[in-house]
Symmetry: D2
Subunit: 334 residues, 4 copies
């Protein structure tokens, strides 16, 4: 039984508490906290959580808490992760790991000091059955080496306050992780392209954007990124190999023939797209972290996604591919 | 150059003249006639046809005419076919060959007297690339023996005056031909089932209907038949073999993602569905009939479809499978 | 917390225990038993179940057990269900409810005596998201009244000892339930047709078979049934309404383009097809039975499936539709 | 009746002669020539062509020839086109119009001198029903403005002697035309990217390549280009608009379920992909050129494709978008 404390009781936090409580037999949520203490208290009552902590630091410090799940606001992630790692606790941190590569590097340094990985970053797509099957096929070698990825990530509505850079750091970040995972390769160069502005998107911010990446092996990746596509939440991914291609399947749905049209419904809410992946992800973390050897996306993976996002955001308007700059990979992560 | 005379200058007649004139180099339409002589005259002017005959009999009798195409009204087919065969001319007759099996048998007897097949019946689906590919796969034996066919034939609107029996003789007739062609098998028993009446169909007439057939080899066929489906012209056919299944492809169309829906357009007009099949059919007839050896659907095929339709229409309301009664197959047709 | 005792610790029994233990917070498996007592003991150890009972009757009698789950061998179902209902306990019984309609009627009589439904039968497809969406669309009325269902149920291999009748009672039984549930209609007539025997199936037993049903409203249902299709576990269902059709979606899978072929993998193991449905089903049962008002398939539903299967097996070889004979439906179930 | 002379009796030349002879009633092929005179003579015999000319210049000069079809080797196109235009004759020229933008400009100047367009370039995709339907949807405005195109053009085998630049000038040239036609927009910048080399492609030449284009309106286009994809001839095109997306349909094919796989066959020969488009294209040219007002792709369109290809080939290795440099568009072409 892994005793878990949760920092952040917002939507995704409560969903994860629900999963840990309902689906995962070897997990026990022993405590929680939130920036708004009332929210934490309500959540504790709802899910029968014993202890409400005043701060994330208190929660992390309590010896009762073996593992820390961080689902607080993005800017607060890094501090909590660092503190939990300092105390040698297992950590599950929702993406992003940190706002800056510098903060990621501090976390990495702390893990290196402990000489073991303690952190799993919430790149849940690695647990999606579709992506897992794609990886299995690529790794089997039956289609030869992977050469290209064509991907797109489309959201229906652009949330208020959503800025150009966030298209990379909050949306495309999932592709930045999943593409290198599929390819078993690292990024070398990156460039983001501005596209004719959709009248559906907020004036003054770039939408759509196109992300281009080149890997160490010379593979090319293009990612279309939309935050106001007007029709659905649509995630597509095609990997082109030497002998063939594979495509991420769409969620299935009833096929209707009516009104001279054959149609299937598309999802519009991102929350419906990767529910199975989230389930498997948390189960896997509890299993593996409980044994002190998390096997999911590491701090290094969080760092690489951050470094690629950095290069992309710096490239905007330059018309050039910029190098994705990274520190040397500690042996710990290989 | 095959010199062809056309009896019947209605819609399908003019379409075939257009094909013979425009697409088929070795065909020459030398004469035409129609129940409404004015129609024949106008058609002759439009397509540059030399001779307009007063009657079908005149056209058939003229030695100038080597081959006769019959696209007149259904009840008139048999008489014209019989007369043309009597004079030893090549005949292309739109389906149905005749209204009764008795008339079909007369035509067959006349061909037997000549000791060669002269007639091709307009079952154009045998020339559709989709059905042809299905047949190729079945005949290859790669999927084992065929065991069942599930088919449906759906029309958008029920024409005025359309009666229950015509669902079999004018609509399902195409399936009655194509199924035995696909299976290389003959019908043994047949039954038509009444179905909950669609409020879209004319009161007092059966629609939809379900056709059931059993073949000599024990294969089973079910055909859903609708004449007012309300959504499109939809032809589906699945052959189930011992090791797998094959499906007739839908016509392709642009794939649209919009309004939370992924969709393709369906056809609504039957005339758009088998245009390629018609093109290939007439080309083939001109080639083969020109050499005196038509290879398409024969009088026997027209007869079998008629006999199966008979059994089906007789079975209505009996709740039983009735035998499909046929004369012995003349050696000529094997 | 619903305290559940399990009778039958075979494959499906252990899977359900696993679900109840791992996924469903408000359920507690307090006891188990099995024909082979060793199996029950092992299962108890594996899942931390407190009590192992010598017999199903002992388990049912223990006041500690609030609800009984019956996953024992098919012929034993009825006796256990009857005894549990007699004691007023909630029951979840895997399909079939009983081997004979007579036994079903006894169970119904006992529920009527209690004047409340206590039994849920394991027709899990009602909880499959695909079927649920189909029902939602039909019930919305947007496509008009349902007129026909075309379904197929295909298994890869025919288990040893599998007999002709079992194709109906053990395989098509799922369609017998789901079709009337989709249509909100009852069966009137039924007929099973023999089909050309597949060389893949055991000599002397009918395979494939075709099931035909007519409902009170005149809707028609055809179900292709295969127990040795040679290619995959394939469940298909199309409902034809007055204005259009809807199809059950296939499980999704990676789309591969290679070797001049575009392909997706199909399932071959039935156990992979409805896992989500089983999860939702048990969760729903625990929720509703816990409150004393089960909302899933009732004894009546189990009875109707049994009555329809009876009519079908009696019809074999008669060439006739036989009436599906049922007692009057007790008010309890409406 | 348009009297046509053909320069170049190779594969595509003979196919076009076949179309003009067999499918198109208002066309007459009155003469032909070829670099290898024997080939021209054989072709003339095969298709009953009256006159064989010693040179293309002789053919163009003969007053008998009203319209010239140029299907000779690529480097010879420009000279013949220029000469035919000089004499005021209608011209159909297979792509490319010329090897250099300079040569295209000469042809344009000559048309401007005549003050009417005389040339149609063989960009047949504009006549493909799939692309036409895509354009219809875009032009309808129902999906809002077009923002991006994702396309790919994949060939199975790399012909001997096929060089890097030819990937652009001979393969992607079709996309260079169709994309601006779909978007009603002109190219501003262009860049070609080198991709990890496929082991299936000839050493030393770039394959795959990725083409990036930006239009005047800011729309972005990415085109994956492969000349040795190993699995099929695959043409894909998705246009992303403000409210949704549309995809070019694949050619349809029988759907097979066997061996735990659901599959359709893909084409492997490019010649099978656009046969309908070629048919419609030539019919349209004969109709319109016969009336002295060709409506298909003009010299200007040939020029723009050439200019874009130039920019792309110049950009290789620079890591930059280069401007697509063009002369001002003569009023003649708007």
């Amino acid at each position: 039984m892994l005793k878990i404390g949760i920092i952040g009781c917002g939507a995704i936090g409560r969903e994860h508490i629900n999963r840990l409580t309902r689906l995962i037999p070897d997990a026990e949520v022993v405590g929680c906290t939130d920036y708004y203490l009332e929210t934490a208290k309500k959540t504790a009552v709802q899910y029968g959580i014993r202890t409400v902590y005043k701060t994330g630091e208190d929660l992390i410090a309590d010896s009762e808490v073996e593992a820390v799940m961080i689902t607080s606001s993005d800017p607060s992630h890094a501090t909590y992760v660092l503190e939990a790692v300092r105390l040698g606790k297992q950590v599950f941190c929702e993406k992003p790991l940190a706002q800056t590569t510098a903060d990621c590097e501090k976390i990495i340094a702390e893990e290196v000091r402990h000489n073991k990985p303690l952190v799993q970053v919430g790149f849940m797509r690695r647990y999606d059955p579709g992506y897992m099957e794609m990886k299995r096929i690529i790794d089997s070698g039956s289609l030869g080496a992977p050469l290209m990825i064509h991907a797109c990530h489309r959201n229906v509505f652009q949330p208020e306050g959503f800025q150009t850079e966030m298209g990379i750091t909050n949306v495309a970040i999932h592709e930045l992780d999943i593409c290198r995972w599929l390819l078993r390769d690292e990024y070398k160069n990156a460039q983001v392209l501005k596209v004719r502005q959709s009248s559906r998107s907020t004036k003054g911010y770039d939408n759509p954007q196109i992300v281009l990446l080149e890997t160490e092996n010379g593979s090319r990746i293009d990612i279309e990124l939309q935050v106001a596509d007007g029709y659905g939440y649509d995630i597509q991914c095609q990997v082109v190999c030497e002998k063939g291609t594979i495509n991420l399947p769409d969620p299935n749905s009833v096929i209707k023939r009516a009104d001279a049209t054959c149609s299937v419904q598309l999802l519009t809410d991102w929350a419906d797209r990767f529910t199975t992946a989230y389930d498997i992800e948390l189960q896997d973390w509890v299993n593996c972290a409980g044994e002190g050897r998390p096997t999911g996306p590491t701090s290094w993976d969080g760092y690489v996604a951050c470094a690629a996002a950095d290069a992309l955001n710096r490239s905007r308007g330059t018309g050039k591919f910029l190098a994705v700059e990274m520190i040397e990979k500690p042996a710990l992560y290989s």
